[in-house]
Symmetry: C2
Subunit: 401 residues, 2 copies
Amino acid sequence: MTGTPDATRPLAGVRIIEISSFVAVPLAGMTLGQLGAEVIRVDPIGGAADYHRWPVTGDGDSIYWAGLNKGKRSMAADFRSQDGQDLVQRLIADSGVLITNVAGRDWHSYDTLTRLRPDLIHVEVSGRADGGTGVDYTVNAGIGFPLVTGPAELATPVNHVLPAWDVACGIYTALAVVTALRHRDVTGHGQQISIPLENVALATAGNLSLFTEVMVNGTARERIGNSVYGQYGQDFTSSDGVSFMIVALTNRHFRDLTELTGTTKAVAALVDTLSADFTDEGERYRHRDALSGLFTEWFSQHSAEEITAALSATSVLWERYRTFAEVVTEDRLSANPMFSPLDQPRIGQYLAPGLPIAIDGAYPPAVAAPALGDDTEAVLGEWLGITTDEIGRLTESGTVA
Amino acid sequence: MTGTPDATRPLAGVRIIEISSFVAVPLAGMTLGQLGAEVIRVDPIGGAADYHRWPVTGDGDSIYWAGLNKGKRSMAADFRSQDGQDLVQRLIADSGVLITNVAGRDWHSYDTLTRLRPDLIHVEVSGRADGGTGVDYTVNAGIGFPLVTGPAELATPVNHVLPAWDVACGIYTALAVVTALRHRDVTGHGQQISIPLENVALATAGNLSLFTEVMVNGTARERIGNSVYGQYGQDFTSSDGVSFMIVALTNRHFRDLTELTGTTKAVAALVDTLSADFTDEGERYRHRDALSGLFTEWFSQHSAEEITAALSATSVLWERYRTFAEVVTEDRLSANPMFSPLDQPRIGQYLAPGLPIAIDGAYPPAVAAPALGDDTEAVLGEWLGITTDEIGRLTESGTVA
């Protein structure tokens, strides 16, 4: 708002209206807010479809909603009334930027709004590329990943738990907004931007060659469990039942792994037997089962503690599998400068992540999420200059809340 | 380069040097290029660690590398020689933007390079938050997702096949660059930006409440197979063995699903038996197994074709699970305006995705990837004004290739 060149708040002075629900657009708004923009999430009175989404506290407050709307301001309005729509339109025209995943509404369409604000930046996230509806878990089913995820012997699809397409789509949305802001700074023109969630998934799968290898080689990726395709990467279990993920991308990694596991001679024998060249990543991948067979013994004969100590002394890429609870209890969050204690009304105090982008050494920190309508009066007053009396009438008539 | 206000190339005129390998930073560079920037990927002679990564063609050319470096220019230089380092430093100073995941090299560190270009934008992607090495598959193991992915009865971790953290990190990197460009336009200052891959994963899991529910409620997410947490979402199989993903987020979705499957009365009976309120998403989630038991019969008695036709007439969110090969052969790519035929040297002709962001109705299209060193001469000549004779000497001495 001040125009001060604070490097960790590079979007200070930018105002954004968000009409959203669920993950992608809320994440985009939160990200833009963490970069310094003033983001107002405008919801229908009573909240959008995500206002009570699980996980919830014992009192029924949504931990989920609080997590994806940190640092925003909140206003609630009657989206069905002309007066409510007019107010929101005025806010959008005033801010100059709308991000939304509520597609197909005439009253906040690009055509309607550019009559009020010709240089508007209007970003709409939709479901399917053909205009149909879709959410992360349906889009993911149609792309191909669930049928190659999980143990090789499994015949059923395995969904991802991370809504990866929503997350990617949300960050693309933030990117589209900032790019359009810079373009408007230079040219004076706004933009109409459309990001179908399905196209985020299709582009990503395409960029990562999963369609291309079908078109070029005539072969499709197979289900290979926890192996890393085209490289040597595999999970192993310690004598005390702890799983580790091991990746060897380079010859040095691989040599360290064979030395660590005492299999250097056995691997050399394998080279003779199979006529394999283990300096070639493709050969390490092709013969991964034979190699894993050799390495498994060492892992199964050592405890997690011993394995951790041994791997730490090598170049090998590795990690111990952890539960979400273990991540929290091992104090990895409290030791990480991206996390800070957040006193979140309705939810409680917890360690909350800021933006995962450190600017000049500092992570933009987490700020508490509002409750629905917390900022209705302030926004109407500050932005639109509406008097307290008039706001009182709007509240009484149910136009805002 | 021209400064023409072409809305679909908003970063025209921006030059970026990329020193990278694998997914995150190459995806960032490609994304910035698709937005109009001129991106030069500078590699060591012979290529970085990803130049031969699988999948490869029958001739051994990397389909993978071509997929993540579309539309860039390529230059190769001897990174170990002073002369090679000097040339790359001059290019970085000239462009004003470096993106890299090759961390910890003095010769292209922020401190070294800002002596040559004080307003440099320097973006470094690293592995672990504590400075250690890490790749997508090790970072993912340490966060928690693999231990809650896959069938509930499974005891082993299930890795993701999509390198979701790399993808998210790459888009965050592009976002950081554009935000820093806009900040520099306004203030004249560059930025030092650091993005640890692990922090992208930790921030995302934190934003999505997976750590917060442990800290606030004392409970951690369980392994629930293909169910959608906190909502009604489940996979079903048709009489001819095809899997479908079904999601009902709203009361309307749920009502349509019960009508479709002829279970409206049975669900009403369940409400009485369980004292459940299925207008509450949490109740639909809690009793998901009982509900799925009712719905399963209808799916198992109908063919995939019948199910598709029936679902299409409802509001229910759904998708048929497809293999990567099915996505290609069903012509969904050729019908999608984001994909266009690409004549990719060394690889062949295929349908390649552009950027999944449509600007004023158009998707920035895919452009072929270079081969290593394709643009070395042109870049040295155009950018640094080095003569053809001098470039010849640099090539002969092995400084560039």
